[in-house]
């Protein structure tokens, strides 16, 4: 099945371009800071705000650090947060959606109303409040580093996944293989995990891919406002935060981190689109 999917996927030029871009970015974020022995503490006021040149391909920031290397360093955190938040959101959404779709009735009603209610709250406002709360130390082990923001991004995006999974489960649970599994004595839990879920995987995978892009944008947005990852830990978002004051004389500090976010999200979206077509069971070969 994997090779069949890959064959379909390969036909999508754009998806392949997306994979290349994403691959390059991931490679760059891992390798470049390492290879150049990047030291964020090594500042050089003499070199501050140099415009992009052959020496500094993306210019330097206010403390004289090369923007390219710094962006790659920040990219590590941004990509990591995107990945982790997506995994958490998918897990939460699948748990809720599968329970709602499988059990139906009261549980479905309750869970979906809960999800709808979360959707009625303006997500950014709630996200800002939640990050502030978590940072203030409400839950002890979740108050530092990237944990608060990963949790908040996941909390504001699981609802879409839950809906998707619920829809899949609603249609799949009527199929014969479920009845067969039940007759062979499988418990409900086992039916959900071992039988229905593998068949519902395709839309989940597509949703997961697209969620990474959304998570990166949400995290950057929150960091840009100052509520996300705090400096000195660099992420693409909080590099943009400092940049707004410097637009007059150093626009490259704003252009490049955002451009990297843009490229990442485009790449991820292209991959998601390609996956959606490749995994479509209605493909006629």
């Amino acid at each position: 099945m994997l090779s069949l999917t890959w064959r379909h996927f390969r036909k999508h030029k754009l998806a392949l371009v997306g994979m290349t871009i994403l691959g390059l970015l991931v490679f760059g974020t891992i390798v470049i800071p390492w290879v150049t022995h990047y030291d964020p503490g090594k500042t050089s006021i003499l070199n501050k705000y140099l415009s992009p040149s052959l020496d500094n391909l993306m210019g330097t920031d206010g403390l004289g650090r090369d923007m390219l290397i710094r962006s790659m360093d920040g990219g590590r955190i941004s990509l990591l947060i995107g990945l982790l938040a997506m995994l958490l959101a998918i897990t939460m959404g699948t748990a809720v959606g599968s329970a709602a779709g499988f059990y139906g009735g009261m549980i479905d009603n309750l869970l979906m109303r809960f999800a709808d209610m979360m959707l009625t709250m303006p997500t950014l406002f709630v996200a800002i409040l939640l990050t502030q709360l978590l940072r203030a130390g409400v839950i002890p082990f979740l108050s530092a580093g990237i944990a608060p923001i990963v949790l908040v991004v996941a909390l504001t995006s699981w609802m879409g996944v839950a809906r998707l999974v619920r829809a899949s489960f609603l249609s799949l649970k009527e199929k014969e293989f479920v009845e067969a599994a039940r007759m062979s004595g499988a418990s409900n839990f086992r039916i959900i995990i071992r039988h229905i879920l593998p068949n519902a995987l395709s839309p989940i995978i597509v949703a997961a891919t697209l969620r990474v892009g959304a998570a990166i944008i949400t995290e950057s947005g929150l960091s840009y406002l100052g509520f996300g990852v705090q400096p000195p830990t660099p992420t693409w978002g909080n590099m943009l935060k400092n940049a707004q004051a410097e637009l007059d004389y150093a626009p490259w500090t704003a252009i490049f981190p955002g451009l990297l976010i843009f490229l990442t999200v485009i790449a991820v979206n292209y991959i998601g689109d390609g996956l959606r077509d490749a995994l479509d069971p209605r493909h006629v070969d």
Partner: protein
């Protein structure tokens, strides 16, 4: 239909209550309270602190605090801002119209542009126009909105000069940016004429707000049109000899617009989110920026007020969208 509306309105009330509980719980968990800053003040005696605690009800049990807040809120007393000590309703009341003004214009403009483009793109599927439109729409959905705003400022406000500076249109002498980098109206010498001033200040923020919506609406309009164009009744209409334009406008568009209406309803929350970034970047005096500033300063009464109003507006617009949906699609019966 009327029964449906009444039922939805009645359902909205417990929903608002539950949301108020969530909002209240969120704020209560925050570590600050109105007299926290006074604890370290050497001029305040312990008796004073006790008295203030009594007055503010700091140590009341949670349900009592909630009851106090809710009963005051439904009576119209939303409290005072911790920072400016003005009534919350006044603070929000000054800002909300500005946000609605900005968001509303962006919303309608996005729709106005997206619908024709989506339609033409679907009609001329696979043409160059279609390819360009889908690519741009795709990119528009992937772009980080706050970065786009910064880029707009860099290009239009920092780097491009206004060619009309010094003319009666823009009395301010050169150099003048092509579009301003912020604000709702010009606050210095030589203001332009009021209408020109407003439009001049609207261009960049509206572009920033509208781009994401535009991309999404174009995609959905195009997808809806493509679906409907395959339908048999379209073929029948053409076979009956109707002009193509009549077919498109009379039959295809109305049916294709239905999923778009649903999407629009779900977008209303993002109008607030997007507005927050836009207002922050362009120093627009709106509700989003008020939220951002209040969150920064720990001004919880204002935060609670904004959250409640936003939740109310979202519920309200969702209801409007559902009604519009039922109106447009005669197959839908709410009973």
């Amino acid at each position: 239909m009327t029964r449906y509306i009444i039922r939805r309105l009645l359902q909205a009330i417990p929903l608002l209550f539950i949301i108020s509980i969530i909002v209240f719980a969120l704020i209560q968990v925050a570590p600050n309270n109105p007299i926290a800053a006074l604890q370290n003040n050497p001029n305040i005696t312990p008796q004073d602190l006790l008295r203030l605690e009594q007055e503010y009800g700091i140590n009341d049990p949670l349900p009592l605090k909630y009851w106090k807040w809710v009963s005051q809120t439904v009576q119209g007393n939303w409290g005072d801002s911790f920072v400016t000590h003005r009534p919350v309703l006044t603070e929000i009341g000054e800002r909300l119209p500005n946000t609605l003004y900005l968001s509303g214009i962006a919303f309608f403009l996005a729709l106005l542009i997206a619908i024709p483009i989506g339609m033409i793109s679907a009609i001329k599927q696979y043409s160059i126009f279609d390819h360009i439109v889908t690519t741009i729409a795709f990119m528009g959905q992937s772009i980080p909105i706050f970065w786009f705003g910064l880029v707009l400022i860099i290009v239009f406000a920092v780097n491009m000069q206004n060619p009309f500076a010094g003319t009666p249109l823009f009395p301010h002498p050169a150099p003048l940016p092509l579009f301003p980098g912020g604000g709702m109206t010009w606050l210095g010498e030589y203001p332009p004429e009021p209408l020109v001033d407003r439009i001049w200040h609207l261009v960049l923020p509206v572009t920033m707000l509208a781009v994401f919506q535009l991309a999404q609406h174009v995609r959905y309009m195009r997808a809806g049109m493509l679906d409907v164009l395959q339908m048999d009744y379209v073929r029948t209409a053409r076979a009956k000899g109707l002009k193509e334009r009549a077919v498109i406008l009379g039959h295809v568009f109305k049916n294709a617009a239905i999923p778009l209406v649903t999407v629009i309803a779900l977008e209303v929350p993002s109008l607030f989110n997007g507005a927050l970034f836009t207002e922050t970047i362009f120093s627009w005096p709106g509700m989003g920026r008020l939220f951002f500033n209040s969150a920064d300063r720990g001004d919880y009464t204002v935060l609670m007020g904004i959250l409640m109003i936003s939740a109310f507006l979202i519920i309200f617009f969702n209801l409007i969208a559902d009604i519009a949906y039922a109106f447009l699609d005669p197959r839908i019966h709410y009973d």
